[in-house]
Symmetry: D2
Subunit: 333 residues, 4 copies
């Protein structure tokens, strides 16, 4: 059984169904009936007028947003473990035209206002040093921690004071909300977030993420940048249909609750081994090499995060039975 | 009935079937079993070792290829009606880091060696003028003309003499081959082509094009550039599966033959109105505004190409009956 | 005697003197006493508050301005003979991050509002085609024609209507003003110009041009972009000192009047041979190959502009006698 | 007396003389007689065939070199205190088209092979993480330390093993050589360096640095990139003449010896206060705020490097007397 990554999971049957249903000739690009419903669907969800764009990867969502939020001659403040720094092949530099990532620390890949403020203070305000232009956080973080709305709002206030745009990488936004039970609005625009990469692919989607703009005046620019980056698919109806299927009846939250619940089961199997609190669907466990090998021998697949540590990721489609068996195997170590 | 564009057509049922079949957990990105078969499948088709990459748009295929073939400080020679110039929102400039497109003329968006050579000669060989770095042609062209292998080879020889890399935008490559009956190898690498954007989306695919590298030493760079541009999808198996379904049993050629045949039927309905010979699946017709309105009133959808001209595009999924009815409607004008 | 290009001329003795005088330790970069005077000096000259930046080349002045005026995903409308298109090695693409140049025609490299408006109208207002973002004209043009303030104002009104920023490449701005006798203000900001590349190097300077911002809110961005492009010299005092020396007592206009007068003398020697009216300091003459050879044999150096045409450029430092002798030689052909 | 920075120093009289002498009409750009001598002069100095380019700033020299040595999708390994990271406004990102700087540590801004190797080992060799493409060191470092030829060679061997290009920022290269007495060849190409930014401006030049290519096959690319970045000055003779004046009779070494000697005098005045050994012309002193104020009150200007630390920089043109007086003032604290 794979506990390697949620981005390798299957797509939800309703997503596949939606693709099949949308597979008929319609207007190309995003002129179709499904794409036309996106803005409304997300505006409802976020209780404010937003503009929503489908894209095929989280990297595209993140970097299109950052390109619109940060000029090439400024920097983006982010955690040194942020996906945009560690796992996107330098895409922020490509999309922004050379903006720098300025790396900050914080336990569990989580940023706190003090550290962000201190980092800004360390920059000489002259033309020789790159001035900060944007702040980007990941929610849930790369280590499975979740920001509360209040924590985001504290960062949002700081961003505003410092003149920074504010982006949230929500590759696991559903898991974060399923964890806190807070509202999509509270943890984003009401907390000062300008743009959100709203992940669906790790949560039942096939290949559609949504880029949500709370600053709707950026929509025209994003539309052009998406096309210019080769991300405007001809048959966009298939993209929108996936997202609508997951939004429908809260399927996205249901899937996220399932994977979070599975993660809790695993976490409870080995409380003493956890590197971080398990707040979403990632579990980082301290195990010896022999223990890791034993788990693998028992048929479980996962990521070696470093010497003595493994990462398990749960996803919506893992059978409860398999999760329970893995929990038992962990307990038995 | 829509004759607007083949990129709005439905995906072929076998493509949808392949997506459904591949919808199970596997290794993420392009580490899956389907993606692993792509290089081999295309190497067989092209009778030489190639490297193949799935991407979601023709713009991505074109511009990733051009970025690897042309440094930022050189220019790409192409027709002034080329898709990369006219319809990609400046994506070549974005992907290459600022390379220029140098625009050439030629009837029906087709380039001839003389014009390309003359354009090169007009450039002063100094650091003040941008020196050419690559040649890009579209086959079939934006006006539905097709290059023979001999014509491509003549351009290929010139490119070699002039030190230019050679790219083919094959958004309708299947239609071109279906038209001439020539072999994929003869019209590409044997004719000097370095990289091909092999289109599937207009020809039964859902959202997968293939970027084919005949200069296989560029594969590592393309792999990185694809990721860096946000084009490495998590569930790449769904991309490869589509392409394999279309390659299987020559479905891609079958689809292209169908749309070419439909185009010929329409062309024969109005030989005196044709702006260009109909060699693939696009028909440009000279009609008056009233005639265009009459066709629209009769339920046909198409593109107004300019005053007094319309563009009809046939696709694999248009029922033969609808094509015959449109032909009759054209004859009746 | 060289009539090859005014950018090969010597620097004026007062410029050299100013460099020598400013050669003492002061604050680095542009924190020195000379640089501090630039904004005021140019604000006086332009009768409004401007921000002025020294740079070492016209290419840097043009492209820094364009980078601030046009986003990477838009195009810059300019003449197909414009220096930014023909002689800057693709620098606009580099500085802007990939913006396109959209090329227009017009006699003598001069643009008219009708042609600019028609070019805008030809662009489909969608995300597939690159939308125009800026207009750039050269004054005096690459063929030595001069825009009147009224002509610039007509373009300025069009730019405003179309939402285009407006840049003037004034590599020979002094020659243009010396020709019309109009005021610096009338031909720039009062006519809608947002930024001016004010050339000094062809007119007695050593290596300092001025980038003048009439939209002063762009100053901070330009300051950063200048540094980021490696154009913030350590000993900027030497740059500012040159420019101040040329502004002092109108030396810049005096020099331009001298070279314009020399050009008129040459023009009057061969009125029937002129390709364009001679309004500034460039003369394009129709001569046979034998005639060109005869002039060269007589010791005159110039540029072969094409078959049957030569370009002569006068500069502030050519002795009147040499000009008269060349005029006589032309008459004698 | 200013001990603020050597880049604010005056130009050497012989440099001014050379500018005055070269101030006559010649071929523009780098086609003049002075520029033609550069390659030979530096080839002699480096005892091998090199290609040399004048540029106006160290930032331009560094970033043009890095753009030719590192593709946009790779990273440049450098010290976290390197000038390219800290003081060039993100110019490396701009010139390379988005390459990342990967920051390493090391006492006194000096890199050691172990740290560089370990940093490379920490990067997963996949398409998700940015792979290293080049190594850049500063000699003398930003803290005034000097690399021996053997130390550079150890880094050069590592760079070769790891497939990294190797760049040296030699803004104070003269001070480094004056310090070790080693040969220019030994500390550069014989040690594996591919390109050197050879600083003259801090050492008696006015505004000319030299970019030296030991990999001469990159010369054509650098020539184009220099022009494209707006760094090809019209009157390049004035640039080359400066450099030739400093190379002549070893004036560059003489100036560097003078500033190094001055630095040693200051260092010997307060051995217990030194943050780093003084190997070139920079002195970092631990002083209290009161002590710093006392020095300022006594007429000395310098940089506050942080709480409790100041930076003094000596330059070729500081009178020996002033240096002795400052030394006495430091001793008297």
């Amino acid at each position: 059984m794979r506990f390697f990554s949620d981005n390798a999971a299957a797509a939800h049957p309703k997503v596949i169904e939606a693709i099949v249903e949308s597979n008929r000739m319609d207007t190309a690009y995003d002129g179709d009936a499904w794409s036309a419903r996106l803005d409304g669907a997300f505006s409802d969800l976020f209780e404010t007028e937003v503009r929503a764009f489908w894209v095929t990867t989280g990297t595209a969502a993140n970097c299109l947003a950052l390109a619109a939020l940060c000029p090439p001659y400024r920097s983006i403040l982010c955690h040194s473990d942020a996906h945009i720094e560690v796992d996107e092949a330098g895409a922020p530099g490509f999309f922004t035209g050379g903006a720098k990532l300025m790396l900050l620390d914080g336990a569990g890949a989580k940023l706190a206002p003090d550290e962000v403020g201190a980092a800004c203070d360390r920059i000489r305000p002259d033309v020789h040093q790159v001035q900060p232009g944007a702040l980007s956080i990941t929610n849930a973080t790369e280590y499975g921690l979740v920001y509360t709305a209040a924590e985001v709002a504290a960062l949002g206030r700081l961003a505003k004071e410092r003149g920074l745009a504010f982006h949230m990488d929500g590759a696991r936004f559903a898991n974060a909300l399923a964890s806190t039970g807070e509202s999509p609005a509270d943890v984003t625009w009401r907390a000062g977030v300008d743009a959100l990469s709203f992940g669906f692919i790790k949560n039942g989607g096939l290949n559609a993420e949504a880029l949500i703009l709370f600053r709707t005046e950026l929509a025209d620019e994003i539309a052009v940048r998406r096309k210019r980056a080769g991300h405007l698919l001809s048959k966009g109806r298939m993209m929108a249909a996936q997202i609508l299927a997951l939004l429908d009846d809260g399927l996205w939250l249901e899937n996220a609750r399932a994977s979070n619940a599975a993660a809790r089961i695993l976490a409870e199997a080995a409380p003493g081994r956890l590197s971080y609190p398990v707040e979403a669907n990632e579990i980082f466990l301290k195990v010896t090499g022999l223990e890791a090998a034993a788990l693998r021998a028992a048929g479980y697949d996962f990521y070696d995060w470093g010497p003595g540590e493994i990462r398990l990721v749960t996803s919506w489609d893992q059978p409860g039975e398999a999760v329970e068996q893995l929990a038992a195997a962990i307990r038995a170590l």
